[in-house]
Symmetry: C2
């Protein structure tokens, strides 16, 4: 069922256009997956996700395991059927979630014991149970259980966690039973290039159908993130999909596509939307600002999203200040549309072999950091 | 612009089928108006309101006056344009809101001084300014400023308030300047039949294009409400639209249509939705109950709403318990669809001259109260 083909390579950068085939449909890469942590992309319906151009979602196996539970979703016919989304879904394993609740978890060679953030109940997950849970959820792409260390973790700690993650990856692969689900490995290694290289080599030797780079954007400097991702990606096979987890801003997406990454997920467009922060080609704007109180313009002139086609900044500010649910809805639609348009623009540039020109303004991180608000040409 | 025609009268009850023409379109009555207090029907978009069959909305001039302000909405091209709803809108004047904040308001012959519930700022509204504000909002039907007394108000207090409301109604009518907006009067008189009759006679003598019955369902017994409404409606002209404010449950809507009321508004379907209470023909259900955790059925078998077509009770319970915005959205869509279907069923029964058979189970308030959960034949 699972197949990935690089259909075009950029002549100047490492970027590539790809085609991912899964049990629940195809995805053209590079692609951005909105985050449906609890089985819903916050404030949206599946119909709206289709309308803004979303092809694949990310859900979180950890959250769904705790609530409503894997049994319940399996009985409902799998996650797609349960949540009313008929397209591809990738689930994060929960490694990141477990380890971000540091004081509530204890890791051993066998697996990880942790307390639920919902009710304090005790749970034990192993690489095998995590594979099994995701198979029962029936998603298209599952992620291995990994140990994610903080950005400031020591060399020794990062080395130990990366080695454990590799041993867990081998166990996860051995535990797999479903042919219609792909299992991706996750490169760890903290902020240490040699550990990242070792982790990538270990995992590639195990022959996964896809590879993610995890444990980045977890407290380290954005420059460090970029250098580590650039270093790591070269040890991942060109023929396989590469997924950079938890990234990022629009600028970062362009830079990481240029490095050869194919898949991305981030809460940024949806979380920002709920806080009133909207993305435009000219930069971000916070719709709650008094300056927009009487502004008759849409969020972005020429934007074809439902929000921009029907509502003024003045109205969006009103519903935001009034605390209306509609505010989260309309802002989310716009931001997701912006992200999907950006990915589409990158794919079109790749198809026309003009990606380098499109991406150039974003390739130098220093310059990009200096000029935070930049005009997009898409 | 404004025109109302009774197109069919029921042969057994006082119910009638009607056609209301306004500047922003036509409405077939009896009709239920969802409540868009702050310029949005909570958790819905205008597109969705159209999809569930809504033809007219109620918004609140008091809330919009305080935030975002009448100036701003007028500059935006009126309320319809501001909120992206191109159909008819009726605005409540704010009388009910002002007087429900008893300790914050002081009434005089001239008008009412009150403090904003948002920031404590002091405001003074008169019958004339309330007409002017609604004209500037550009809505299709405006309501006069009225004094609404509690259900337990004394005869003397109710008499004084009703008389003041009538004097204010005359001033409101005299203050009108827009031909494309209809102004409705509001019958008051507390729980006293003779005061209700006097109020209705006073207002009808002033020749308004439509009449509302207000000050009901404000703390008095539901049986008393019914008797007062039944008593009052006989003093309102058959040729004019009759609007029963703030009502009600599905059962109440049937009973009041049978009395000859044409227009209704209530927060019940939308507020209940956000609390997880869903309407079905077999009665209400609270989707948060554990009993629904694994229930694969839709809220209502055979229901054609987006929610029932795409989601199980199990999923709706999950998103409700998880506190997801989607819960409020999907529940609201279902409840509004249920209400619109009920109104449609009543209109169809009227057109086919079989309304009495449809309504019979709901006409006796005693029996209806005894059997709270009843099976609808629509």
């Amino acid at each position: 069922m699972f197949r990935f083909t690089v259909t075009q390579k950029d002549s100047c950068t490492q970027a590539r256009l790809g085609h991912l085939t899964t049990t629940h449909g195809a995805v053209t890469t590079p692609a951005f997956m909105p985050v449906a942590t609890q089985g819903t992309v916050k404030a949206t319906t599946p119909r709206e996700l289709r309308e803004v151009g979303v092809e694949m979602l990310l859900a979180n196996a950890y959250h769904l395991y705790l609530r409503p539970g894997v049994d319940l979703i399996e009985q409902a016919g799998g996650l797609q059927r349960f949540m009313g989304w008929d397209g591809p879904i990738l689930t994060d394993s929960g490694g990141y979630q477990v380890f971000s609740l540091k004081d509530l978890c204890r890791v051993s060679e066998e697996g990880v014991r942790f307390r639920s953030h919902l009710d304090g109940s005790s749970h034990f997950l192993t690489p095998e149970t995590v594979v099994r849970n995701q198979e029962r959820l029936g998603v298209d792409i599952a992620m291995v259980l990994d140990e994610c260390v903080p950005g400031l973790a020591s060399y020794a700690e990062a080395a130990r966690a990366a080695a454990l993650t590799s041993r867990w990856a081998a166990r996860a692969l051995a535990a797999k039973t479903r042919e219609d689900q792909a299992l991706f490995a996750i490169v760890q290694g903290g902020v240490f290039p040699d550990l990242r290289e070792q982790s990538a080599r270990d995992l590639v030797a195990l022959e996964f159908p896809g590879y993610a780079v995890g444990g980045l954007s977890v407290g380290e400097d954005a420059q460090v993130t970029y250098q580590l991702a650039a270093h790591t990606v070269q040890f991942l096979p060109h023929s396989h999909p590469r997924y950079l987890m938890g990234v990022g801003t629009p600028e970062q997406l362009v830079r990481y596509v240029a490095l050869g990454f194919d898949l991305f997920d981030c809460v940024l467009p949806t979380r920002n939307a709920r806080n009133g922060t909207l993305f435009t080609r000219a930069g971000k704007l916070n719709i709650r600002r008094a300056a927009y109180a009487t502004d008759p313009r849409p969020v972005e002139d020429g934007c074809a999203c439902y929000t921009c086609q029907h509502f003024s900044r003045a109205y969006l500010r009103h519903v935001a200040v009034a605390g209306e649910i509609l505010s989260a809805r309309l802002n989310t639609l716009h931001n997701l549309y912006f992200y999907q348009q950006l990915m589409r623009a990158m794919r079109e540039a790749l198809a026309a072999d003009r990606f380098a020109a499109f991406a150039r303004p974003f390739l130098a991180p220093h310059e990009a950091q200096r000029k935070e608000e930049r005009v997009w040409q898409m």
